[in-house]
């Protein structure tokens, strides 16, 4: 019997509420003191196609989905066909009893438990054709099959839905629960048990929400965003909270408008943000340069998905690293931060606003679909870990003798900001090269000086990051190891899981996660690579862009590259295998 180590998959067509079902189940598990990771896989369509959600539940902290499925809830035969090989031996399938396509031969495996349940029939007979209730039925049944606590699930339903909806869901889940209790032997290998005492209340949150929470907490007051997978969820989150948080969330006519609107908002004096994906980022790239030139603080969330072009719009990738570092003509400072997990999504968003304002430049949060659309149970964020730092701002009135100079050349490379309407200060800026007052200029010396000033901001930032010990990289695993894995972004989850697996086999690898990609923490990377026996880069792109950054910054190549660019995340077991192959 396997207790509290369970991987559930729910699969079917788009539009069946699969993600929501997974979310409800996961939350019920979390509330019983278990750890949960959940992620979905869907195509770029609204109905039909094939969708699935996987939830991994464990007594220990989990960082990614598993390689195998212990229980498959299949809303159609296709789901079984597509995923039967992923089922663990001794696993089970929950499906509609009346689905005539499904039979032993179709399933083709003898090592599985089958849990046929009357689904459509129940929906038709008892719920006047509310098809989404079949989710509650199967989840109720699942809870019975794994011996979990139905009460916790009912409570989640109550907290999530309006009373009426909650009620019919509860009713449906009980039907499923009772049916399973009555019809199946109580011998399923996998069990979920709630912890007797739940030490810490966790939250179940996805990357987009964590970024949104970070932005709200950081005081973001203006959000302009045109929908684009995978960051559309962030738009929805911000829009939903517009009134509660006294902010403005405006739906613009496109990404060019979005970027220029937040530039305007930043100039006027508030923290402003937008989010997009590759195509939208292309359209923002001209405004990005303007922000660099006019020294505006903004935060841009970039959610990667497989390109080129529209590519696989609902899948995940890491193909845009070099692109975001170099986008926009000319050379100007920017920060590129790639959070690797839900917590980093929150804290790095808060930091992003600080760097943006302190150094007056755009900060890009480089994420991907797998990160921002996956959920994990985590400890509630420490809202005080990152303090608000706004840099040099002239508040009240400007009283200096000399006229206010928006682009004053100072020793710290930062020109104190005044916002329009500051008594005594005229605030002038230009996307053209300009003098300290903001008047345009074509003077060669001033041009050189300004370019130096702008680029030196990165030097100052690098210094501050080092001096304050900001974790621009993180290091996991034993110092002495057979190999050092280097990666960035969402590969972190499967990698941490893979390291667990490797250590079970007594294979010691360590792992360098690079969070700040630009400016590149070359010194720290050099130090760790200096002692590494063998280096392995793990990325979701074709050309191993991180290796290219390392070559460029550290003059050494990474020994092995494990690259996957089919839109799907690594599974920990498969990744372990790949790592072992190059060890």
């Amino acid at each position: 019997m396997k207790v509290n180590e369970f991987s559930l998959m729910i699969g079917g067509e788009a539009g069946e509420g699969i993600t929501r079902a997974g979310f409800l189940f996961a939350k019920a598990c979390m509330r019983g003191g278990l750890h949960v990771f959940g992620t979905n896989d869907y195509q770029s369509l609204i109905r039909g196609g094939h969708n699935f959600y996987v939830a991994r539940i464990s007594a220990e902290e989990v960082y990614s989905q598993a390689d195998f499925v212990d229980l498959l809830i299949a809303f159609n035969a296709e789901t079984i066909q597509l995923h039967r090989t992923e089922l663990a031996s001794g696993g089970g399938i929950v499906y509609d009893k009346d689905d005539s396509a499904v039979n032993d031969e179709f399933i083709g495996r003898k090592d599985l438990k089958l849990f046929p349940i009357p689904l459509r029939k129940t929906v038709i007979e008892q719920f006047r054709e509310q098809p989404l209730l079949k989710n509650a039925i199967v989840l109720g049944a699942t809870i019975a099959i794994v011996g979990y606590d139905l009460g916790l699930f009912e409570k989640v339903l109550k907290d999530t839905f309006k009373a009426e909806v909650a009620e019919s869901n509860i009713k449906a889940s009980r039907i499923g629960y009772d049916y399973a209790k009555n019809n199946f032997a109580d011998d399923f290998e996998y069990r979920l048990k709630k912890k007797d005492s739940v030490d810490k209340q966790r939250i179940f949150v996805e990357g987009n929400e964590a970024i949104g929470l970070g932005a709200l907490r950081a005081g973001c007051k203006f959000y302009a965003g045109y929908p684009m997978t995978p960051t559309t969820g962030l738009l929805h989150f911000m829009a939903a909270n517009e009134r509660k948080y006294d902010i403005i969330v405006i739906p613009p006519e496109g990404e060019i408008a979005a970027a220029n609107m937040i530039a305007g908002a930043a100039f006027a004096g508030v923290r402003a943000m937008t989010a997009t994906s590759g195509g939208g980022f292309c359209l923002m790239s001209e405004a990005l340069g303007m922000m660099g030139m006019t020294e505006l603080p903004v935060v841009i969330v970039m959610g990667q998905r497989p390109g080129p072009s529209t590519g696989l719009p609902t899948y995940s990738a890491q193909g845009d690293l070099r692109f975001v570092i170099h986008a926009g003509q000319g050379e100007f400072p920017r920060v590129v931060i790639a959070p690797g997990d839900i917590e980093e999504c929150f804290y790095e968003t808060m930091r992003a606003f600080n760097w943006a304002e302190k150094y007056q430049m755009p900060v890009i949060l480089l994420t991907d679909k797998y990160l921002v659309e996956s959920q994990r149970s985590v400890e509630p964020f420490d809202i005080n870990r990152v303090k608000i730092e706004r840099g040099a701002i002239i508040t009240g009135q400007y009283t200096e003798q000399e006229e206010y100079k928006r682009h004053k050349i100072t020793e710290t490379e930062v020109s104190p900001r005044a916002f329009p309407l500051t008594k005594g200060a005229i605030v002038r800026t230009s996307a053209d090269e300009k003098d300290e007052y903001g008047y345009t200029t074509e003077d060669p010396e001033l041009t050189t000086k300004n370019a130096d000033k702008r680029m030196r901001k990165l030097v100052c930032l690098t210094k501050e990051l080092e001096e304050r010990g900001i974790e621009t990289v993180k290091f996991y695993g034993p110092e002495d190891a057979q190999a050092t894995i280097i990666s960035w972004g969402s590969t972190k989850g499967p990698l941490l899981e893979a390291m667990k697996l490797l250590s079970r086999e007594n294979i010691a690898v360590n792992y360098l996660q690079i969070i700040y990609l630009h400016p590149f923490p070359a010194r720290k990377v050099a130090k760790i690579l200096g002692t590494a026996k063998k280096t392995i880069a793990i990325e979701h792109n074709v050309t191993s862009q991180l290796s290219s950054l390392i070559r460029d910054n550290n003059l050494r190549d990474v020994d092995h590259k494990i690259l996957k660019y089919d839109g799907r995340p690594f599974n920990p077991g498969a990744l372990t295998q790949k790592i072992k192959e190059v060890l």
Binding site: I203, F222, I256, G264, I388, A431, T440
Partner: protein, 285 residues
């Protein structure tokens, strides 16, 4: 309250002698004085083109942005701080070609800003090519055999986009233009003025004379500014007689008026040091 002198800047003006932009500049400065603003209250937002240089010539807050993006920039500034008076300066190519994306949408939203388009019917700063307001047959370096399509009618577009203040001025009549600017700025909502601005260097066709022979003032002829249909009709009048003045005017809630949660509060004044997100975290438990 500002005086003309306060508005001067140390920058040398580099427009061609006689350029229509001078008329716009003087009308604008005059309007600021007439409106009795302080310099700190006003933000100019300008695009890229000869027109965009106006930013260097008026001593108020200013953002000289990239080509075509005056309106989203101005939108961001105004929404964040409604206490500012935000005035956009755009060119015909800046606004009606590269920036066309934003024009109708900003108008629909009725953002409470003013937009002045320096419409010289040519790309000036890039040394003379046809724009969408160039007249068919107009020969330029980009259209040596004559521009092909009928000219865009920006006023008609503003009108069908639910514009609430739609006007046209002529740089050759700065006094009249000044009165239009004053009205447009006072208008609560999107105040739009297309300005005939002779480009004395590249536009050999639409010269001061050409305009002077043709323009007449709607307000001299008892035009009804409350009729959108009439205004659309007038916007198509082109030939021996071309109307200037206010085509249409209406009161309608601005975009910000609809944001009832923040009413007139400048977001710059909302404290951010300890935003409470606990209830959201609680919901996620």
């Amino acid at each position: 309250m500002v005086t003309i002198k306060d508005l001067n800047t140390p920058k040398k003006n580099t427009w061609c002698p006689g350029c229509g932009n001078f008329g716009i500049l003087s009308a604008f400065k005059g309007a600021l004085v007439e409106l009795g603003f302080e310099r700190e209250q006003v933000v100019m937002v300008s695009g890229i083109g000869c027109h965009g240089k106006i930013n260097d010539y008026v001593n108020v807050n200013g953002f000289h942005g990239i080509h075509g993006r005056v309106l989203p920039l101005a939108t961001g500034i105004k929404l964040v701080n409604p206490d500012l008076t935000v005035i956009g300066f755009s060119g015909d190519s800046d606004c009606y070609d590269e920036g066309w994306d934003h024009f109708c949408h900003a108008i629909r939203r009725n953002i409470d800003i003013t937009l002045i388009v320096h419409n010289n019917m040519i790309l000036g700063l890039t040394t003379g090519q046809a724009t969408s307001t160039s007249m068919p047959g107009f020969k330029t370096k980009s259209t040596p055999f004559g521009a092909i399509p009928p000219a865009l009618n920006p006023l008609a577009h503003a009108l069908v986009a639910h514009g609430t203040f739609v006007a046209r001025g002529f740089a050759g009549d700065p006094k009249h233009l000044q009165s239009l600017i004053v009205e447009a700025v006072r208008h609560k909502g999107f105040g739009y003025i297309d300005v005939f601005q002779p480009c004395v260097t590249f536009n050999y066709l639409n010269t001061y004379d050409w305009f002077r022979k043709r323009v007449y003032k709607l307000q001299d002829e008892g035009h009804d500014v409350t009729s959108r249909e009439k205004a659309i009709e007038k916007s198509f009048e082109w030939g021996d007689r071309i109307p200037i003045g206010i085509f249409y005017k209406e009161e309608r809630p601005t975009y910000r008026d609809n944001l009832t949660h923040i009413k007139n509060t400048p977001l710059t004044k909302v404290p951010i040091d300890d935003v409470n997100i606990n209830s959201l975290l609680e919901e996620m438990k």
